[in-house]
Symmetry: C2
């Protein structure tokens, strides 16, 4: 393998393994326009079904709009607390799950399902493909942000209609992700929910099947062995 | 900016901008286990709502299973052709839209919506969050593959029930992406559909709003100007 390729791989895997869903560590420092522009270009270069590029990007800095979103989060989060019981409810209630007001900029990424007409190449048999394309844009944005040392937190505890109201998003546009974006004091070495003991990382080999659902190992044991061997592969995330 | 950070950014943006949806350029060369293992770890380290890690990975090398998938594609693609008219139909029919048989390995990434019970932290108000998490795993896989100089093509022209049959996927598991994976003769400098004149890349500034849906420029003109200035930002993809 060439040195250049090794370098490229090290960099990419470091970004992927050290990316975090940030809630508590936002700093108030402004994100410069040239950085935001690069992040948006990264999102815009996601794959899209039939090349429809169904996304829009709402860049939110208004304190009033952020406050409306925070109110919407609080309302939904109170409902959510009631859905867990006993110790889980206590643990849930102790978690910080968003950084809407502390992060200097919020970005909402939406999907316009009608952008290129009713019939879309590649969406003819799986109708959600345009939503999936928009999620690919979210993930590009997130990884580019991590490479820029910028934290991103995805806020999903909010009712869609309250989100639409806060941002004046029309009925036929699907909000996909509401992201809190900003520099951070640190990136944790583990996901927040793993650290908090909510759930543990699953062993990758348990999730991999061969040729048919549920079929493990067998003629493909060499890959299963490699996966076991690589189990400490992810880089230390402190970069 | 430090040299290390600049290098990290150059690498990541190069990967993002040169990633392609590959259909025609697959080589028969085997993808080694150590590479496949890294790609699967990259996917497994995607963000997931409530840390539920709802994904499974089916690694498909069986010629028989690939043939079944190819048959399922052909059937759906014949239907799809009939949905376009005139010149569009002709253009559609001329496009190669999958590389199922030519690529040495296919990967199906699925979503198990019941993995951690009914109530999932962060999925309480937006029920599709687990599907979106799985798409993030797809995009991690795709970008890691590009960094490894491996091409990926997402086959979406297939009926879900035929895909389930071919891979014995149970009813309660949602297939999210069927990917053709392999080394390639080249990565094109533009997406196939852009090259073929199907649709053009949209100007990013047309897609960016400020604080409210539909609101452009205004107090945020500095970002709009930066985006305009950066319009040739994406790296030349030939790396």
């Amino acid at each position: 393998m060439t040195n250049e390729l090794t370098q490229q791989l090290d960099n990419l895997y470091r970004v992927i393994f050290s990316r975090r869903d940030v809630r508590s560590q936002f700093l108030p420092d402004l994100v410069p326009d040239d950085v935001l522009s690069r992040l948006l270009y990264a999102a815009h270069h996601a794959p899209s079904v039939g090349y429809m590029q169904p996304w829009n990007f709402l860049v939110i800095k208004s304190a009033e709009v952020k406050q409306r979103m925070h109110d919407a989060f609080m309302e939904a989060n109170d409902e959510a607390k009631g859905m867990f019981e006993g110790e889980r409810r206590e643990l849930y209630s102790s978690l910080k799950l968003e950084g809407i007001l502390e992060s200097p900029v919020n970005i909402c990424i939406t999907c316009d399902r009608n952008r290129t007409g009713d019939t879309v190449l590649g969406r003819t048999h799986i109708s959600d493909m345009d939503l999936y394309s928009t999620v690919c844009a979210v993930q590009n944005f997130w990884l580019a942000a991590r490479a820029e040392n910028i934290g991103v937190g995805w806020v999903s505890i909010v009712k869609q209609e309250r989100l639409r109201e806060a941002l004046a998003i029309p009925e036929d546009i699907i909000p996909i992700a509401y992201l809190c974006v900003g520099y951070v004091s640190e990136f944790f070495d583990q996901p927040d929910l793993e650290k908090a003991g909510w759930l543990a990382r699953l062993p990758l080999n348990d999730l991999v099947y061969y040729d048919q659902w549920g079929q493990q190992g067998g003629g493909e044991q060499s890959l299963a062995k490699q996966i076991e061997k690589d189990k400490d592969f992810p880089f230390d995330s402190t970069s």
